[in-house]
């Protein structure tokens, strides 16, 4: 099954990249705030049970995909 893992910096963790992009958007006169930049990971995981597949993706997050000191993830089974 197709799985999408979205990895975001935790609230409160400085995101200089987001800040720079926000400033860039302000340069175009867009009204915008709290721009945060994360990472989107898509993959195929064998299985047919969405709950089981999601649990596998969670294990991947715990092992490698996410650094819990600074990041959090949300998992979507498509």
């Amino acid at each position: 099954m197709k799985v999408r893992v979205s990895v975001q910096l935790k609230p409160g963790i400085l995101d200089p990249q987001g800040k720079a992009v926000e400033q860039g958007l302000h340069g175009f006169a867009f009204e915008v705030e709290h721009v945060r930049i994360g990472r989107l990971i898509e993959m195929d995981i064998p299985g047919t049970d969405p709950a089981e597949v999601k649990a596998k993706a969670q294990a991947m997050c715990d092992k490698l995909l996410v650094n819990p000191v600074m990041e959090k993830a949300s998992i979507e089974v498509l």
Binding site: I13, L14, P16, Q17, K19, L64, L65, N67, V69, M70
Partner: protein
């Protein structure tokens, strides 16, 4: 004294480490390929060099932390062997969970290459024992992700247990936000684990030991290691 220097694809300070440990200090220094599964017999110190291991993919140090050689580095550390990680080596040790915390992008967003002053916070470690607590030394830093970060409660724990080995400071040893080049919490430049045998630091002492190449502010750390081993 035998030193192993793990080399990952993208390591670029491995030769600085080999030069400092091998040529300058005269230690038996052996490069070890990341795919190897065993450190050389009787390794005393594992020196994890700086660079951009695996292109900094995913997160700095995240992929290197999973390299085959790292399992033996962990075994070495668990048995009390010394491990020192500099720059990307520090990031790898954090990702391998041999040290707490994470190194985020510098607050300024920029790669910073500069000479910085460090204050010795712990002078009782094998990495610092030839120096005095409060002593200031000057070494280069060269990184884009050195902004040390930890959850507030964990940071308080780290400070309380004396886990901070080195802090950024002024030439006179004053600490404070003005003297922190990268935004690191509490001006932390280097930390040690609970047992005091694994140290990670962002600046590069190994680039400041050879008088033929320039200043030698990093020598105190190498003299410390030598003293630690001559007593073994």
């Amino acid at each position: 004294m035998r030193v192993a220097v793990p080399v990952f694809p993208g390591s670029n300070c491995d030769h600085d480490a080999l030069h400092a440990c091998g040529t300058v200090m005269g230690w038996d220094t052996i490069p070890v390929w990341h795919r190897d599964t065993r450190l050389p017999e009787n390794t005393d110190l594992v020196f994890i060099p700086g660079g951009f291991s695996y292109g900094d993919y995913l997160r700095c140090g995240a992929i290197a932390a999973l390299a085959p050689i790292m399992a033996d580095v962990k075994r070495h550390a668990d048995q009390g062997g010394l491990v020192m990680g500099v720059c990307n080596g520090f990031q790898i040790l954090c990702e391998a969970q041999l040290l707490p915390g994470a190194l985020l992008r510098n607050e300024s967003l920029r790669f910073i290459h500069a000479e910085v002053y460090l204050r010795v916070e712990r002078a009782d470690l094998p990495f610092t024992r030839a120096m005095k607590a409060g002593e200031v030394f000057r070494v280069p830093m060269a990184h884009a992700e050195g902004n040390f970060t930890l959850e507030p409660a964990d940071l308080a724990d780290l400070e309380a247990r004396g886990g901070v080995a080195l802090r950024y400071c002024s030439a006179r040893g004053e600490i404070g936000a003005d003297h922190v080049p990268n935004g690191a919490m509490n001006g932390i430049a280097g930390i040690v684990n609970l047992k005091g045998n694994v140290l990670g630091m962002m600046p590069h002492p190994e680039r400041a030991v050879d008088p033929k190449l320039g200043p030698t502010g990093g020598m105190g750390m190498f003299r410390s290691l030598e003293a630690a081993f001559s007593k073994v």
